[in-house]
């Protein structure tokens, strides 16, 4: 019987539920000193002078450095296409471009002394005009990099067809805000660095990609790869924002080299809210057209991406948005173009979904707007336009090739679980009675891309002489449950109990290579690599067993039930895994071992349908989510418990974007949401119990048949909730409310619609 597909409890959890995890800040590092960054409190200004003399003289302060002291190169552009004139220095030099940009680094004996010393650094600024709104930035009137002559950091333009909508009977368009949000991992950024006795830099990092951190340290600090050892202790979430290396990481490494003492840095929450990359931040203009009987024929999406102060991963998110332009629909003609601009705000980066939720939010909102225009039920419009299951592989108008799917099945199941007809009846009843609390029903059919980047992944399986297994993986889990899932994959192949399987990750000395955990890639490429290594180690074991049995290799079989090898037809004589590991040692002097560098076989395309049911208090504008139904298809599910966990967390973050979360700046570029009292990080009290279902349509792309599941929740849920809020208000004349649909915003939309209706009535 297969272990795969079972709700195996997380092997990771007993520790977290009893003694708790060990994070970077928990590491004991005798004699360590503490780093604090003095950050800009101006959004855009020339730095006239920096006086650190009082800070330097303070007792307990070891040294204070500015960018000139570091002598390090600027951070390179993330991709060659982004504007090369816009690279950030390690510490701000000459100009500051957002509130929170590090200017000075203080090293002190204690964290408290460093914080006190930070207050003594006097920075004289000459304010420059500030631009926060990307629409304003696009006008190039206020420039962040005058030498660049523009705020445009990156452009995607494949041209446009003027006749795109010519054949359409109905065309509607809308400008949509996909607002800036903060990823808010429970653990902020944290690093600790020290030189070992043999002259290596050991660097502990709260990261999603330890090998990426190693490579960056090697490159910036001028070290050899073997001189740097990066480890990740437990990591308290990342959501994409910890997939990149930050300037602060490099500076911490530099301080350890310079001072020869262990150095540590853990950002505060207030720093994290302005220093850790933000997500989303698109202004979208969408146009959709089709026939009166509900066939969508053309769609165009124009994206204005806010990169923040420097073009990082956020600047190139529109790549992913464009890839998913037309969603799960068979639209004959679709286009997407984008412009990314810099603004005086925190640099944007990948955040759970990274470019794909933005695509889904646009097309799903437009499907609802189009349905309303032609007076068709939004579920019916979707049904008429979904790609059919017999049309895969399916190539979209933007040349994305979807692997496999059964989109209609997900839609039908979601509607069935929701009891959609009954919901519409209840909605009609409330509309007719003029209920203060109106019901909204929102749908989102989504398809997304996982493992969309070209990296492969490392996996290794080693059988120890005691019969236990060591698995090494290049993925870097930080909550996902890879220890449990990879154990299951290996147990399935080898017949060895998961309790006897140890999974090692997040240590660049022990795991030689790895791309890390991001983009919902881990199972389908990292798990697949481990799976392949397990298959390879079986082949090696069969060679050894054939020698021991003096039998033909082709006659040796693995009996998984007893975890032993025998010659076909003679199960009485067998060799256990331990015996074969011993045989390997005797023969080669090495372990029974296989390692794999699995090249990426290309992306997969998870899909599903979410239905959200909300209640809107039309007097106050407050939205309450009553139900959330999620039908997700991530191909073959290895462990439903883990998959549900991913969906649950994703829905929470997705609902939060629809209803609550938004990073807000004032006109001077001061962040107004830099604490969790002001930034509306969602809690369990705002969320219903989810109704989750999986359909399983295995992908042919990898041996496991698995697709990614880490980001489906945020991709599927946000538009469903957003559509539900707009749906609740539709009969009041409200066409659209931008996210987040906060009480005041919803109330204002109702008021404005009422005013329009009254004006018409009087006119």
């Amino acid at each position: 019987m297969s272990i795969l597909g079972n709700r195996v409890l997380r092997r990771e959890d007993p520790k977290f539920l009893t003694v708790g995890g060990t994070y970077v800040a928990d590491l004991e590092l005798p004699g360590s000193v503490h780093v604090t960054f003095v950050r800009s409190n101006m959004a855009h200004a020339k730095i006239v002078s920096v006086d650190s003399s009082r800070a330097k003289a303070m007792p307990g302060v070891i040294d204070v450095f500015s960018n000139d002291d570091l002598g390090l190169a600027n951070f390179p552009t993330i991709m060659e296409m982004t504007n090369a004139a816009m690279t950030p220095p390690m510490l701000a030099s000459g100009t500051v471009r957002f509130v929170g940009e590090p200017i000075v680094v203080i090293v002190a004996e204690t964290r408290e002394a460093a914080a006190d010393a930070a207050e003594l650094v006097v920075i004289d600024y000459e304010p420059l005009p500030v631009v926060i709104d990307p629409v304003e930035a696009r006008k190039d009137e206020i420039l962040l990099f005058p030498e660049a002559g523009t705020n445009v950091a990156f452009t995607l333009d494949f041209g446009g067809d003027d006749t795109l909508f010519d054949a359409c009977e109905v065309v509607v368009e809308l400008t949509l805000a996909n607002q800036r949000v903060a990823p808010c991992p429970l653990e902020g950024r944290s690093a600790a660095a020290h030189m070992t006795a043999d002259g290596r830099l050991e660097f502990s990092s709260a990261t999603q990609a330890p090998h990426g951190v190693r490579d960056a340290l090697v490159s910036f600090l001028g070290l050899e790869p073997e001189q740097v050892h990066v480890v990740t202790p437990d990591v308290g979430g990342g959501f994409g924002a910890k997939a990149s290396v930050y300037q602060e990481d490099i500076v911490v490494g530099w301080c350890a080299l310079r001072l020869g003492r262990p150095v540590r840095w853990t950002e505060t929450r207030s720093e994290s809210m302005v220093g850790l990359g933000h997500g989303r931040a698109q202004v979208q203009h969408a146009r959709i057209g089709g026939t009166r009987d509900g066939i969508v024929q053309a769609y165009r999406l124009d994206v204005l991406q806010d990169s923040g102060a420097y073009p990082g991963f956020g600047a190139v998110l529109p790549f992913m948005t464009r890839t998913m332009t037309s969603g799960p629909y068979k639209i004959a003609r679709a286009e997407c173009a984008s412009v990314s601009v810099v603004t005086n705000s925190t640099t944007t980066t990948a955040y759970r979904g990274a470019g794909r939720p933005e695509a889904t939010a646009a097309i799903e909102r437009m499907m609802d707007v189009f349905a309303r225009e032609i007076e068709m039920d939004p579920a019916e419009l979707r049904r008429r336009n979904l790609i059919s299951k017999d049309e895969f592989p399916y190539t979209t108008p933007v040349e994305t090739v979807y692997d496999v799917g059964d989109y209609h099945r997900a839609l039908d199941l979601a509607l069935e679980v929701a009891d959609y007809e009954q919901l519409r009846t209840e909605q009609s009843r409330r509309r007719l009675s003029g209920d203060v609390r109106q019901l909204g029903i929102g749908l989102s059919c989504y398809v997304e891309i996982t493992n969309g980047l070209p990296d492969g992944e490392f996996g290794a399986v080693e059988i120890r002489p005691d019969g236990k297994v060591i698995v090494r993986t290049g993925t870097s889990p930080h909550g996902q449950g890879h220890v449990t899932a990879w154990s299951m994959l290996v147990a399935e192949q080898l017949g060895i109990a998961i309790e006897d399987i140890e999974v090692i990750y997040g240590d660049t000395d022990v795991v030689p290579r790895g791309a890390g955990t991001m983009g919902s890639r881990s199972l389908q490429i990292g798990g697949a690599a481990v799976n392949q290594a397990a298959l390879d180690v079986i082949e090696k074991a069969k060679d050894l067993a054939a020698d021991l049995f003096e039998a033909d290799r082709g006659d040796v079989v693995l009996d998984k039930a007893s975890a032993s090898f025998h010659v076909v037809g003679s199960p009485a004589v067998s060799h256990s895994w331990a015996e074969l590991a011993a045989a390997a040692l005797a023969k080669d002097g090495g372990p029974l071992f296989a390692e794999v560098d699995l090249a990426s076989p290309g992306p997969t395309f998870p899909f599903g349908t979410h239905v959200s049911v909300v209640e809107v208090d039309t007097e106050t504008g407050k939205v309450t989510v009553l139900r959330h139904i999620a039908v997700d298809d991530a191909g073959r599910i290895v462990n439903p418990l883990l998959a549900e966990g991913q969906v649950h967390g994703g829905i929470a973050q997705g609902v939060a974007q629809a209803l609550l979360e938004e990073v807000v700046y004032d006109l001077d570029g001061n962040p107004l949401t830099s604490t969790l009292a002001d930034y509306s990080f969602i809690s369990a009290a705002e969320l219903p119990s989810y109704e989750t279902r999986f359909t399983e349509t295995p992908t042919p792309v990898n041996a496991l048949g698995a697709k990614g599941i880490g980001e489906s929740g945020t991709i599927g849920s946000t538009p469903a909730v957003h559509n539900a809020v707009c749906d609740a208000l539709a009969h009041l004349g409200v066409r659209h409310v931008d996210m987040p649909t906060t009480p005041m915003r919803v109330w204002s939309a109702i008021e404005e619609a009422a005013a329009r209706t009254n004006a018409k009535g009087q006119g």
């Binding site: 609550l660 009292a677 809690s683 009480p743 005041m744």
Partner: protein, 274 residues
């Protein structure tokens, strides 16, 4: 998020706390639950030289039935107030509202006295105490004095306590269970109210309090007068925003807050049968 350095003294008695306040004047701050003061210190918006910790004075944590009123010790934590049988029967609106403050962690640390003395117009309890016609008891070097809720909240984050006084007790006239309405609009359960309203019916009429509708917690006297003159909930509630000057922020414009105040007051009034 790291406070400036400060001295810390744990007071063994109220008298010792008062002595320390007399000695150190404005440099000293009382520490109770710490849920208002410590965040301000961590942001370095407050940098007291001395913290006088009165949280261990458990003698000031009680809820007592005192015939015509319920007496609540100033160091009673919100959780304890919310679950006190005496409060639930004699001042059920107070128990209910205490159970709605922040989140469970906040309610297990925060105290009624700390919340009141902080004088935050966005806090829930001050408006409830106004509507109930509560009385605060302060103790200073020369003994105790009573301050009516109406006189207690002076201006933005300023209350009638002298720098050397400790708030020791809150006295709430008894009210009947079910004779009140409390409405709070928040984005998240744990948030401060964007706007809140409370209505309490007593033998002397209906008291109405407003949360976050100005620099101090307010009593909606116009509404109260309208009810006394026989107006219904809808008509009376229209007066809820009169004379209010709520602040504007990204959670609510002035117009929005005034509108919500009218809605919430009407709903609260309907619950007390107006």
């Amino acid at each position: 998020m790291i406070p400036a350095s400060f001295d810390y003294v744990r007071a063994a008695t109220v008298e010792e706390a008062i002595d320390l306040l007399v000695q150190h004047g404005d440099d000293a701050k009382l520490l109770a639950g710490g849920h208002s003061l410590l965040p301000l210190m961590k942001m370095r918006l407050a940098q007291p030289a001395l913290l006088v910790d009165i949280a261990p004075l458990r003698a000031l944590s009680y809820v007592r039935d005192e015939h015509d009123h319920v007496a609540v010790g100033a160091l009673t934590r919100h959780h304890d107030l919310a679950n006190s049988p005496v409060a639930i029967s004699g001042a059920s609106v107070l128990a209910h509202v205490a159970g709605q403050i922040g989140d469970p962690q906040v309610r297990h640390r925060g105290t009624i006295g700390g919340s009141i003395a902080h004088g935050d117009p966005a806090s829930d309890l001050p408006a409830v105490l106004l509507a109930l016609g509560a009385t605060m008891v302060a103790q200073g070097p020369t003994g105790r004095r009573e301050i009516s809720a109406a006189d207690f909240f002076v201006s933005f984050f300023e209350v009638a306590l002298a720098p050397d006084e400790v708030l020791v007790e809150v006295r709430v006239p008894k009210s009947s269970p079910g004779q009140w309405g409390f409405e709070k609009l928040t984005k998240r359960a744990q948030d401060w109210a964007i706007v809140g309203a409370v209505a309490v019916r007593s033998s002397s009429g209906v008291g109405v309090g407003l949360i976050n509708m100005g620099p101090v917690p307010l009593r909606a006297s116009g509404v109260e007068a309208a009810i006394a003159s026989g107006k219904d909930a809808k008509e009376a509630a229209e007066l809820a925003s009169e004379g209010t000057e709520p602040s504007a922020d990204f959670n609510g414009s002035l117009e929005y807050r005034q509108h919500v105040a009218r809605v919430l007051v009407r709903r609260a009034l309907e619950k007390v049968g107006v």
